[in-house]
Symmetry: C2
Subunit: 375 residues, 2 copies
């Protein structure tokens, strides 16, 4: 077992500078109920970029350091500094999830049972080489699963399953998903097909339409099309979808969705009322791909909600039993239903190159980066 351990950190200093660097850290010593995982693969999710760059102006970032240990520096615009007070001066570890082999274990039977196993972990900064984790929190992957296959076992799979469980818990019967060609969107599409749930996929490009249709999606609407609002209303009328999940936020897509839901509901109403339909319409915003203002053109009555949707809060609501069932399904179907596709792989030092940053910061749908901490 190698005696070096390296982690990627993001630090904001008092003088408005963001610094990204690789840090030598101690090898973790497992407590009784813990294991040490040699991380071999970790995905770059949009939320990781938030931790990595925060509000810094990455377009004007500079690179220094050495080729093996580059350092990236960028300015944080002054207006954001007051809200970052609690972060200033702290080297924040980045990376929300990953997978690798258990190389050390504490004395408890649960920890010992994991020795040599391929597991997925969540939290703690997975853009590092070795991490300790509670044995209980590790997701044990099936024999033969690779670290790459298991790297995205939590954020996207749990989010997609949480959407379906939220739909059920809140009494809706079909789902609308925006930016639906993403890895997460493809998972949701596979879950909905398997579970017999109608899913309306909103995409922006013809090739994304084709991708989802080739994967068996029945309802795909293109928000760039002139007939978008009519197409969406028709799909809602057919499916009865009254809950939507949107990772974009900024702009007026949430508003369009609610107005189309209302237009579909109005067709069923016997009388006109100024209060709109009593069909409850819900949009959950689960990301911030567009950080601009959300514009709501309200022609959808009073029975509606727009809410933030954050995985960790939702899991708390759904309860332990539901979450345990989700984890089991993910472990069993990680190479099928929950398969992720990566278009690029980068080492920790490659993550800190200006040209890689320019590429992965785009968050282009259809592109997905895998970090290889051992490379």
């Amino acid at each position: 077992m190698s005696m070096t351990n390296i982690q990627l950190t993001s630090t904001i200093s008092e003088d408005n500078k963001l610094t990204l660097a690789l840090q030598d850290i101690d090898m973790p010593q497992p407590a009784d109920d813990e294991v040490v995982v040699r991380l071999e693969a970790a995905p770059l999710n949009p939320s990781d970029l938030g931790v990595l760059f925060n509000a810094a102006d990455m377009a004007n970032a500079t690179q220094s350091g050495t080729p093996e240990s580059p350092v990236i520096t960028a300015d944080v615009p002054a207006q954001f500094m007051p809200s970052l007070e609690k972060r200033v001066g702290k080297a924040v570890a980045v990376g929300n999830e990953g997978a690798g082999t258990v190389v050390a274990a504490g004395s408890s039977p649960e920890a010992q049972a994991l020795m040599g196993k391929m597991v997925a972990v969540i939290g703690g900064g997975t853009y590092r080489q070795f991490i300790s984790a509670k044995a209980q929190s590790c997701l044990v992957l099936k024999e033969g699963t690779t670290a790459k296959e298991g790297a995205s076992s939590f954020v996207n799979p749990l989010t997609a399953l949480a959407m379906v469980e939220t739909m059920r818990a809140e009494g809706h019967k079909a789902i609308i998903h925006a930016a639906a060609a993403s890895n997460l969107g493809q998972m949701l599409n596979r879950i909905c097909i398997a579970d017999g749930i109608d899913l309306i996929n909103i995409v922006r490009k013809p090739e994304q339409e084709k991708l989802l249709r080739d994967m068996g999606a029945k309802y795909v609407v293109n928000s760039s099309s002139e007939s978008f609002l009519t197409d969406l209303t028709d799909a809602i009328t057919e499916t009865g979808a009254t809950i939507a999940f949107d990772p974009i936020g900024g702009g007026q897509l949430s508003s369009d969705i609610l107005n189309c839901m209302e237009a579909a509901a109005a067709k069923e109403m016997e009388e006109h009322t100024i209060y709109g339909s009593d069909t409850f319409k819900q949009v959950y915003i689960y990301g911030a791909l567009n950080r601009g203002p959300i514009t709501i053109n309200r022609n959808f009555g009073f029975a509606w909600g727009i809410n933030g949707f954050l995985l960790f809060n939702i899991l708390g609501k759904l309860g332990t039993e539901t979450v345990a069932a989700m984890r089991e399904r993910i472990a069993n179907e990680i190479t099928t239903t929950f398969a992720s596709h990566y278009t690029h792989e980068v080492s920790l030092s490659e993550m800190l190159q200006l040209d890689s940053i320019a590429a992965y910061a785009k968050l282009a749908t259809g592109e997905k980066y895998l970090v290889r901490p051992q490379a």
Copy 2:
């Protein structure tokens, strides 16, 4: 008992015209469990204007008919007609509530018991002279209460009480109210003082600040002030308010409120996170005083909700027992906690004068119209 009965109706025709007129209708005959109420006073609430004018261009309305029975005509812009399909050709009765004397009753003991009593009624178009109502749904006012005092016994009092009950049911501990100098706002202020609940009143004018402070309000912030956001954040920090009610909608007040709630919550956080605080922040939009777009500048994390708030839906959620207790409190406190103030009185025919319409359509805070169907 007079044998004529007149009601005000609003009709939209296929050729995009809105017509407001007075109609002679039959005197109602009470069923066994019904009473007939001689309506003597009915308020003009914002929601009534929605039914009355709908989407018509009232600025260019014209008046015809006779002085006793005027007729108002206005154009409905073509783009609104598709959504009004179910309303076209129907003479819609207007007026959501009112009060008057029971002048006839069905054979049931409950109905007979109301003969001669002053009662408040809800629904059915109260801009008319005589209306039938289920005995059970009438709110019996205390001996000596006038029709004017009882006219607004439902919409504003129940809405204000529903706000407080919603706060309790959803686990919040203090309330923010926008457009707080309204009749409803004054009621809410009195309820919160009586019940020991911290209320942050948002107003737009210094005289409204004074009005509420003179009524004992502790927290009043002026949204026209340069220090508005700081003032609001400070008041939230002091009270812990995490639920707000806003009758305006359009513009960015809801967004400002959520951002101030988050700023207050962030002060208590030990660590910075890109997901924001886990303090759940809720804004309910219960009106549309500004029909323009709602603009949300999202710097408040993921633990938030913005929802429509419609009295009838909320009462359903709160349940029969809570609503019965609300009704009893309203009847007991209609001249104190739930007192309304009217600045103008109009007869049914005066409602259909261009100059009155221009005045009452403004929905100015501090001005309130009372309709006198018998005048």
